[in-house]
Structure formats: structure tokens, C-alpha cells
């Protein structure tokens, strides 16, 4: 990337671990394990766009099972009690919190968009871009991934 500032996979790991400690693993029983899962999954992809001096997306991708567990952990419910709306809200908010923290590592001035949740990552034009960094983890035995994609200046992030 052209700018001197660029987030790294280590930055993403640090941010994700803070988010998990605060919201998803408050009692230490559901740790985010920083080991690549056996198989990545993009069943649910939540992202926030960053626009301005830098253009791109901050994304959280996980399996359908992990997305339900995340919503349940955030809402203090059981996984079988959460609705599709709860899952979208929860994953969108995860992307928002991680995105806000990633934005502080990007060139200024930038603005953060509102979260979007996509359930069909294959051939999704919104998810096209150059990956700058990624953090892969395993959570509750399920794949969880945070990544940052850069888009060409003037490219479509909406």
C-alpha cells in the first residue's frame, strides 16, 4: 500500500483479542485461539467500509455456527434462541468495533461506514480488493477470520 501506515496481522490479533475479552469471552471460558482453523469459512461476512485518505474494508468472516454463538454470547442468550436479525446485528457490531480500532492505524482523514453483513461471499463485488493483512483464529472449534482489504482510490466501497 502506498501510505506509510498499514495495519498488520498482529494488530488485528491484538484488536480481536481485546474485543473477545471484553464482549465474547468475559469469563475466560470461550477463548479466541490464534491458530488457523482446519477449514476457513465465509458463511457470514460482516464488514465496514473506510473512505477518505484510504479506501477499503475491514471484515469479519466466520461459519454460520460461529455467527450464532457470537450473537448468543453478545446477547447473553443460547445459540438456538438467536434470530437471523440478531446474528446480522451481532456480526455487524463486531465488524464496527474492530473496524473503528483498525481505522486508527490507517492514514487520516478517513470516515467509517455503517456495517454490512453479506451471506454469499463468493462472487460478491463488495468483497473485491487487495488483502493487506489477515488474522485467522479458531473460536469454540469454529473458524473466525479478521481481514483488511484495500480498494483502489475512488473505488466503490459502498
Amino acid at each position: 500500500m502506498s501510505a506509510t501506515m498499514a495495519p498488520t496481522g498482529d494488530d488485528l490479533q491484538q484488536i480481536a483479542e481485546q474485543v473477545w475479552a471484553s464482549y465474547l469471552d468475559t469469563d475466560g471460558e470461550k477463548p479466541l485461539i490464534p491458530l488457523p482453523p482446519d477449514k476457513l469459512s465465509k458463511d457470514v461476512v460482516a464488514g465496514v467500509a473506510v473512505r477518505g485518505a484510504w479506501h477499503g474494508l475491514v471484515l469479519v468472516a466466520c461459519s454460520a455456527t460461529a455467527s450464532k454463538e457470537a450473537a448468543a454470547a453478545l446477547l447473553g442468550m443460547e445459540a438456538d434462541e438467536v434470530s437471523e436479525g440478531d446474528v446480522d446485528d451481532a456480526l455487524g457490531e463486531l465488524a464496527n468495533v474492530i473496524g473503528g480500532n483498525v481505522k486508527s492505524l490507517l492514514p487520516e482523514p478517513c470516515t467509517l461506514g455503517l456495517p454490512e453483513v453479506h451471506n454469499d461471499a463468493e462472487n460478491d463485488p463488495w468483497l473485491a480488493g487487495d488483502e493487506i493483512c489477515r488474522f485467522e483464529a479458531t473460536w469454540m472449534g469454529e473458524p473466525m477470520e479478521v481481514s483488511v482489504l484495500e480498494k483502489p482510490q475512488g473505488g466503490e466501497t459502498a
Partner: protein
Amino acid sequence: MKILIADDSRVMRQIVTRTLRQAGYDGHDLIEAEDGAQLVEKANSDKFDLVLSDWNMPNMTGIEALRALRAGGNQTPFGFVTSEGTPEMRDTAAAGGALFLIAKPFTAEMFKEQLDSILG
């Protein structure tokens, strides 16, 4: 006391509610708003002791809502709870009249630090 919690995410409104409880602020009357426009409407039609607001919301952002309140003479104590905690955001928040900015992810301790003087 009456607290207005504004965030477009229901999940986050719930987490804020839970964190208030964990920080020891039980028994307060909590009212929710889903965006900045609702925040302004509710804050102007009722008397609140504190507004806790997200920054990025549809219809009207948190900072626009704060400026709208202050422009209309509403001086309700107002703090941000947002995913962006850069010095620039904090300066913008303070210039708009916010008392504090709590960055997500937050803890009950961070709530106590900022809210004890208001709710303690």
C-alpha cells in the same frame, strides 16, 4: 436517574445496559434510541440525566445529534460510546460539548471511571 442509550445496534444497546449494571449502576431508568434523530427527539421531549451515544448511526450521527441538542439549548450531560477513540475524535467530541468518549471495546471499569461523577 434517567439514562438515554443511543446505538443503532440492539446488541450494543444491550451490552451497554449490561455494563452499566456490572459497573454498579443499578436501578436507573434506561431508555433506548436507535439513531441520532430518535436521540434528539427523545432527549427534547423528556428530561434525562445522561445520554450515552454511539457516533456512527444512520439518519443522524451522534455528533450531529449532540450539536442539535446544544444548538436548541438542551444541556443534558452527554458522552460517546464508540468504536473510534482517536485523539481527533475525542477533540471533536469535546468541542461539541461531550463530557467523555468511551472507546469500544469497553469494560465496566472504563464506565465507572467516566460515570462515577455523574451517576455515583
